[in-house]
Subunit: 398 residues, 5 copies
């Protein structure tokens, strides 16, 4: 799913390009075709609902892919490991994958693509998964959640991944099924944040090969949460640039961008917030599938989640503050203009009155006949103008 | 009950018609006769209270229909099924319906219309239902709730249904009574969102025929919640169109519409929010009427309810943001006008002063006699005007 | 206590009179003497505190009447009933009342007036009531609450009653003491919302004669809550009328009225909110004084209380929205004025400049000598004016 | 401690003096020296922190007086009583006081002044009090709290007392130590709200002489809470006067006063809010030091506390509403001015244009030669002015 | 870490310097290079995230220093004490430190600097600390927290320290490990708020030498919390100075400063708030590592934490109020200007109209020929001007 963080996407093209150009791009895109901004809007909410409604009326447990249309074939890859052995293989069919399962090794079956119901169904049958879980896997609009089915745990996460190749932030739903000796992970498309985990598995780094399937699930969750920090870092850069912009040259696009950022914060918050509950429910579940020794790691992910929430909240406070500053600086600018213009008008209005007096056609106006009359009047007008200027300046009006 | 979602109703006439016309319609309706907008206002609160007050002073358990007046006869339809048998029949009287009850089949008695107290009373007696429950069925202003009476469970829901035929969104109260082998459902009028369930029953699709009465109740609740997504989708479209409108041409009708939408959100929220508690109480009730295997389905409905709440909250945030943007764009427009006009005035005021000077009638004004005087003054004035224009532009005031 | 809902009181005089006149009345009253508005203000808070302070320094349990001064004699009325017998009598003294108590009949002693400490004290002694309870009965500024003294329960409610005779809404504190076979109810003055209950007792309608004292207390509470709906209905009418007013002709009185209504909502909320806790504590108390079969009725009152709260909250949201609309429509009106006036000024300023030019007294101004000069200048000025008007209209400034 | 409620203090000088003068005083004081306003500000927060920091680095349990500097000698007074005996005496030293303790009488040792660490320490040793408690007694910036040390309970309260003599509201910290047969109370200075309690002890009024030390502590707390109502009453008067002021003549001082009142509300809230917890913890502590029969009295104080909170919250709501009204009335006034002035200018600008036309010096201007020209033009200008005035009035702009 | 409280830092240079200069400095810094203001911004959030992202992909338990770069060598100092013995020594290596450990003395190992992973790792191994704890020690962006590992407790705090030497406020993360007879404390750099504790240890002041390791941890926490008061005191001074500034001469820098202060409050709040939970979890942990007698001291720290929170909240309320006052005083100033200027213009516009009349060139204008015409007109104009001035003054417009 290409979506979510438009600003980041644009930022990524070239970090050094001026925000100015970015804002123009944003605006340009907004008012023309497909434009990421609109995509964001559609993705965040309406689309999730739109697609959802396709399902109305179907019996529960019907696997319907709800999400972006995809054409790429579903990719299956299997990693099977224990303290000693390690095997990694891409397979074509679910049966092939199952053939690679040999106890007591832990098998990690990763599925890239949830748009082929038959594959999900086959996996579901092989591992004895409840139809409603399969439905949730295909319907990529779930909130992060954890469900305990005794034989297996089902965890849904939202992965935010910055794809260096496409210069884009991608949002995907990750569904994890944790059994006693297997983990099945479903992603919406190829490409993920788990390369470092595969690395550690291959090279037997850290505890991961010695620990069980539960530790693998923890590692996957940890990788997902760690990538939130990357996204936050990028958002933070955008916010800082806009903050500079605010002081120097606030425009109505800045307001739009502030609101867009606020909305992205809300979106991010909604993706991260339920994670707290997911993890604390994992701990409280007292499932035999999770080792006690893994709890301390889960608590670590929990702490990171809270740190993400803290940062998101701080950003939101900053954005609110910036909104206030924007509004007050806009009105300050307007006031400045009005003030200066009014001062000019005010100085000339009494002067024009004086010229009006000596433009009157009375026959008996002694001043008019005086040779010095004109100069005196000019001088008086100059004096009045100067006095007013001095007065205004002393009052700090100009 | 014809009510609730005016905007949707209008939208439905022709999705492709411009929002512009819709807004005009809205406004038009508001200021003239019966107008849905007013209906909404009346329905959402005052009317519910108005009708409620009719009841003051009556002993508890008195069945009084509180809601829209209806004249259509109450319609009773019975579906009786088990894994093997299926029977569907429309009946005239409650006794006819009861005659069709044969254990161990599950009987679903659907009642279209709650404005005939005698029918509700008769059903109540036949199934041993508490008088207060019967009162709540007839009084269609209940909040969604669940009550456990050991022998049966009583569930109240709010159904939002888009009626394709009438191009209208209809809101109705659905009251469900779940016994060990029967389900009685009460609706305010004909037409509902349960056709797909009837279909599944007829054609023995999915688990529904094999499962018991509790699964039927779950299916009904699921159908109700699924239709909230349809409503949200429509609201989402309206919001998007208004958002475009906001940027291009905000009017005071836009403000009104924003507030109306906000109010509809509040109304929707109030209808959905208590559902969470209803479902979690169903789970906690530990009633023998509900199979453990149905719990996972209830949890699924629960998740959907939360997704609806999430979407509603996101819409509300968007609407608040749009309100801010509206207010600031209105004030921006005003500022633009004032600024340009003031600039024009400001340029001409000093020039008029100059013409005033040479309009004075002093006898001794050497410039006046010069043949080039007029041209010089004209040029000077042109120069002053240009300098001011350049200055204003450099200051970005125009 | 004459107080609380000024707006309703005025409304009641004649429902068909225009809000306009009402608002004028409101304003009029506010700026002159005693004026209900001020009474409201005094009653809602300051007075309750004022009177309260009289008590500072007295030992606890001292019965001091805190509330509106009253002179009418305290009225005692006794109803004694069971499934078979019914006796109703007005008595002069507490002893007379006690003489009518004959087990196992339920005795309902109703006391109209709490300003005679000696009577309260006497009743307290006869029924073995704690001095602090007696103090609370006389001090009519309690929040709704429920206290369990094992032998009896003490319940405080706020009754809002629309008195058809005086065309006024009256607020009174109702204190109820529930014993095993008696109920004592204290009101501040004559007139209440319990006539329908007395009717049901007299005519043996519904369960009431068969049920015990606890059911009577429930009936009293239900009658009190049912009357909140009447008050809400009236407030709803006022709100609707003001809403119409807002669009057509907002004045600063409208703002005042909005704030007054908001304050009344807060007052109503404070009276209703604690009721929730009162009822749920009645359920949790597990007092032998309350039959299990009464619980379902209490739950019904609880639901009504929540419906009242819901309506109050909706009204508050509506009032907030109306406040926003008011402020923006006020500023819109101002902007309209400023805009049109500025446009007029702006058109004439350049024209006046042109007249200024040809008013100059240069000797060499060729145009002045031309016979067509005057007409040309007039035409040019007309053209300029027209161009500006067209431009302004195209920009939608006028 | 002279502080807290400046407005009250000023009010007290003469209740009948106009608020106007008071506001001037406020403003005057604010901009000059010591001024109560500043004292308030310093007292409420900065000073509490300032003094607190003196303590940084000292070992815990070090008794350091944190609060206003005092020079008066600490005063010790002992009251010893039981149902039969009563003895009251002022003593010089702690030993003298202890000598008067004779079981089973209850001894109440009242200490006026906490600025002499040695006295607090001596008392602490005699009654076996923990050093941290002694530290809290001397450090008068505690929040109200209750601590259970098995042998004794430690309670901290904030006393607001209106001192008739000095015409001032005084805020003091009251620390109470409740043992099985003694109560020690610490005040910051002489003068308190306990005179009525001493009276009741002397004259054996009510239960107080028969009840134990716990009832005495309750009585002290009750006296403290009762005096909050006095303070609220005074604040209520100020608020009402400002409300009148708001409508008639809002100034920027009014805004300042509104904010000051809001701040005082926050201060009062902070002093009262923790009291709820203090009392409910007293109940839950199940300490043998508190008789069950005292619980109903504690609950009574609890109810009063909630009534105080309710009033404070209502006042805050009122102040917020008044702030809104203030802002809108300020902007209304401004708008009125601008409107009238602009209307005047607008009427004369077209007229001046007309005079400009006939001030032009074209040779061929037929109107100029007409004898009736001047009168016609004057009449036309008059007509234009009248038309504009009528138009403006019809539009309700003037 | 040099950061956090810029305003304080600047304030510290010379407390007597005028805020004016400070504000200029602030502004100056903001718009130029490195500038503390920016440092604050970077530190508070973006940086914490930036650095955090370095870690993405590493296996959990990898010790990576996340925080400000440091070059100074890590300093280890050991204090070993019991009631009788006391030994204090600076050591080079962890082994040296461990050699000084001799039971039953309590050993306090203080580590200044967490940027050398190997030292942390060595300490971790020696004391049997979990790798994730070591990771948290090096990653200085933790929220305050407490974790119970049975054998030891892990506590994270945020230390705010005003460094007199550098005239700077420094923020550091303090990590504490409490074992049965040892405490290890990690700081980011040299210099801390613990000197008074070292003093008390050296001189055997108070209970500290007699009590165990848990009391030492309490003392460290107490010292950290006590220093928050110092920071608050400084912030309070700044707030007061800005408040004065607000009334006399509000500028847009004031607004900026207000927002900066608000942000610092949020930062402080985030550092202090979790401390409440830390301490209450320490109490609830029921760890054998903490003596019951220490609980009363922990409760004392808890109370102080709440006092800090209270002060922070009060400051925030004050800042919000000041923001309101700022905005309204800005708009007041603007209104004043506009009003006076408009009044001037308005007076002269009618007068100019009159001069226009007598500037017209009609042949038949009888007034023009009158010798007193000129004087009369001048007088009339003067009269009009005076009447208008009087009118405006009476209306209080000028």
């Amino acid at each position: 799913m290409k979506a979510g963080f438009t600003t980041q996407k644009i930022l990524a093209n070239s970090r050094r390009k001026r925000l100015n150009r970015r804002l123009k791009l944003l605006k340009h895109k907004r008012c023309k075709i497909s434009l990421n901004q609109i995509v964001l809007r559609c993705t965040v909410i309406p689309r999730s609902i739109t697609r959802r409604s396709k399902k109305a009326g179907l019996p529960p447990g019907t696997i319907v892919h709800v999400g972006e249309k995809r054409r790429a074939a579903v990719k299956l890859s299997v990693i099977s490991y224990d303290g000693v052995n390690f095997q990694e293989q891409e397979v074509k069919t679910v049966d092939e994958a199952l053939a690679l399962r040999k106890k007591p090794s832990v098998m990690w079956l990763n599925v890239d693509g949830v748009h082929q119901p038959e594959i999900i169904e086959q996996i579901g049958k092989s591992f004895g998964v409840h139809p409603l879980v399969l439905e949730d896997i295909a319907n990529t609009r779930q909130r992060p959640k954890m469900e305990d089915f005794d034989d297996y745990l089902f965890v849904v996460l939202k992965m935010f991944r910055f794809d260096e190749k496409d210069d884009e932030t991608k949002t995907e739903q990750i569904s994890l099924i944790l059994g006693s000796d297997f983990v099945v992970s479903f992603q919406e498309s190829e490409g993920d944040v788990f390369d470092s985990i595969r690395d550690r598995l291959r090279n037997n780094k850290g505890r991961i090969r010695k620990a069980g399937a539960d530790y693998l699930v923890y590692s996957l969750m940890d990788a997902v949460v760690d990538n939130y920090f990357m996204i936050l870092e990028k958002l933070g850069e955008t916010i800082e640039e806009i903050e500079d912009k605010l002081v120097t040259n606030p425009t109505s696009e800045t307001l739009q961008t502030l609101h867009d950022l606020k909305r992205e914060m809300i979106f991010l918050r909604k993706s991260v917030w339920p994670l707290r509950e997911v993890i604390s429910r994992l701990e409280k579940a007292e499932s035999p599938l999770i080792n006690k020794s893994t709890f301390v790691y889960l608590r670590d992910v929990y702490d990171h989640t809270i740190q993400v929430m803290d940062a998101v909240d701080t950003y939101r406070d900053m954005l609110s503050g910036m909104l206030d500053i924007y509004l007050s600086s806009i009105s300050n600018r307007m006031n400045e203009i009005m003030k200066v213009l009014t001062v000019i008008a005010t100085i000339f209005i009494p002067l024009t009155f004086i010229t009006g007096i000596y433009g009157m056609n009375f026959e008996f106006m002694p001043e008019l006949g005086q040779p010095w009359g004109y100069l005196v009047v000019l001088s008086v007008m100059l004096a009045i103008a100067l006095v007013m200027l001095v007065y205004f300046r002393r009052k700090k009006w100009i």
